[in-house]
């Protein structure tokens, strides 16, 4: 009961914050709704763009995979770290492209770059459809995590009701304040989640000495990787690091920044922001040492929290976990809305875009909910699946940044082949010698992009990296 009360208070507080975020920004402009008119400084951009580090997938999924597979789960740490390296160099260019082409979505970047080019529409549609498709597992990931978190409150209600409740909360956030809600609530969410991790990890450490936790836990989970695990980890770290900022909501969040320098300043702190992960490892090993039988490895973190924390503190933990899930759902929905209204349907007038987007968002949430109920699995596996498709945008993105000869049709073909190949290999369980399936498909994607562009003729477009400050209109227009 105490846990439920604290949980309800915190969720209500976050909604108030969302309403306050809306105040003073009564513009109904579509750009304000989706990308906050490019006004955000470093502080908010930081919380928005690295927010995914402390997501429900991290809290529940990462501790789950460490609990289930020991050191074979460290790819999860590696990919965030290298994502920040890639981002430091690539994201300022993505921002510049966004400014040049007045982009709201990731598909707008490609559309704008190949304006007047015959293949532009095909590429725009390919990116749009592929992005939406591979965001559905992302939604499933959030709802799956929400279920695990909410179940710790011990409500004894139907799973389906619980997920629908979560979906309604997510809708509330989005419709109240557009992207400003996730931005402001992001600060609260990160604070709560860090608190959650530290409190639970700290309680484990207070209960059992650090070296005893690992002394007991290590024999139960391997502390070295086997050769296949090593191949999977290395390929997954590299592959997902390239894909992290190809996630449509991450790209979109970048557009909220004031300047390229804001992004660079923000990005260098991203790896430092991972300092809470050791606590999650501690919690996973602590839970291993208890020898408690869990129905699913996903439950490792919550099981430890239930055991170690007083009820009211558990309420904070669940609220923190739930908010991260809700927030990512809100962010994802805000990426999907304009993808549909601007890119898929093309010529919907701006005033109608917002309404169309809202319909689609509800549909997306419903589909994710259905998948959550129909196909529950290890959260980190769902995460891998989403990246299979999302990372396929990376070669094209690099091409528009640096290469004159890049051809939009070759780019679209590369993405389609990458998507189909990775889903095919995954569904048919074709052995890839344990290399990440998406990485294998990415090689085919790159080959098609390069060969296709070389064969397609001489038409050139000036790459983004060569279009410097002079080409970018002044800020605040």
């Amino acid at each position: 009961m105490a846990a439920t009360v604290v949980f309800a208070i915190l969720i209500a507080a976050s909604l108030v914050l969302a309403v306050m975020a809306k105040k003073g920004h009564h513009s109904t402009n579509v750009r304000d709704f989706f990308i906050a008119s490019r006004q955000f400084g470093g502080f908010l951009v930081f919380f928005l763009s690295v927010g995914e580090i402390y997501s429900i997938a991290t809290l529940i999924g990462f501790s789950g995979i460490i609990y289930a597979k020991g050191a074979a789960g460290i790819w999860y740490l590696g990919y965030f770290m290298l994502a920040s390296s890639v981002a430091y160099f690539l994201n300022p260019l993505i921002w510049r492209a966004g400014k040049l082409y007045d982009a709201v979505t990731i598909a707008d970047l490609f559309k704008g770059h190949f304006k007047n080019h015959a293949g532009a529409r095909v590429l725009e549609l390919t990116v749009t459809i592929s992005a939406i498709t591979f965001l559905i597992p992302w939604g499933q990931l959030q709802f799956g995590g929400l279920l695990v978190a909410l179940s710790a409150l011990g409500w004894h209600i139907n799973t389906a009701v619980l997920v629908i409740f979560a979906g309604m909360l997510a809708c509330l956030y989005i419709f109240i304040a557009g992207i400003r809600a996730p931005a402001y609530v992001a600060v609260l969410k990160d604070a709560l989640l860090i608190l959650t991790v530290v409190v639970t990890g700290g309680a484990a450490l207070a209960h059992t000495h650090l070296s005893t936790i690992f002394h007991t836990g290590v024999p139960l989970a391997s502390s070295h990787m086997t050769a296949p695990q090593l191949r999977f980890s290395m390929s997954t770290i590299a592959f997902q690091a390239l894909g992290f900022f190809m996630l449509p909501f991450n790209t979109q969040n970048l557009f909220t920044a004031k300047s390229e320098q804001t992004i660079r300043r923000t990005q260098m702190f991203m790896p430092l922001y991972m300092m809470m992960f050791p606590f999650l490892v501690v919690v996973a090993y602590y839970q291993l040492g208890t020898h408690e039988h869990l129905p699913s490895a996903n439950g490792a973190f919550m099981a430890a929290a239930l055991q170690l924390l007083p009820r009211w503190v558990l309420g904070i933990v669940v609220a923190g976990a739930a908010l991260t899930g809700l927030l990512v759902l809100a962010g994802t929905s805000l990426a999907i809305g304009p993808l549909v209204s601007r890119n898929l349907f093309g010529h919907v007038p701006e005033q109608k875009q917002r309404g169309a987007a809202q319909v689609v968002i509800v549909l997306y949430l419903a589909l994710s909910i259905l998948l959550t109920l129909a196909a529950p699995s290890l959260l980190t596996t769902i995460l891998n699946t989403a990246f299979f498709g999302i990372t396929q945008f990376f070669p094209g993105m690099v091409a528009i940044m640096f290469f004159r000869r890049a051809n939009p049709l070759a780019m679209a073909a590369g993405i389609v082949v990458g998507d189909v190949l990775s889903v095919g290999l995954f569904a048919l369980k074709v052995p890839t010698h344990d290399f990440n399936i998406g990485a294998v498909a990415l090689v085919a994607n790159v080959a098609i992009l390069v060969l296709g562009s070389l064969l397609a003729g001489r038409r050139q477009v000036t790459p983004i990296a060569l279009r410097g400050a002079a080409a970018v209109p002044a800020a605040g227009d």
Binding site: L77, V218, Q261, M268
Partner: protein, 64 residues
């Protein structure tokens, strides 16, 4: 080029390419396996690499 090597090359070498070597190390601290220690250390070291890029190369770019 040095900028890209420091900011991108070094972290990739440490976190991906060196993983097979790191996997062989049996050193532990408070019984924590070395793979974790290595990854945790690179939270800081990756930031250091990017910080160097900022201080040496990018800090003086025009603010746009």
């Amino acid at each position: 080029m040095l900028r890209v090597f420091i900011g991108l090359g070094v972290p990739f070498i440490a976190v991906v390419a060196m993983l097979p070597l790191v996997n062989e190390v049996s050193f532990t601290l408070f019984n924590i396996p070395f793979l974790y220690l290595w990854m945790f250390a690179w939270f800081i070291l990756t930031s250091v690499c990017l910080g160097l890029c900022w201080l040496c190369f990018d800090r003086h770019r025009p603010e746009y």
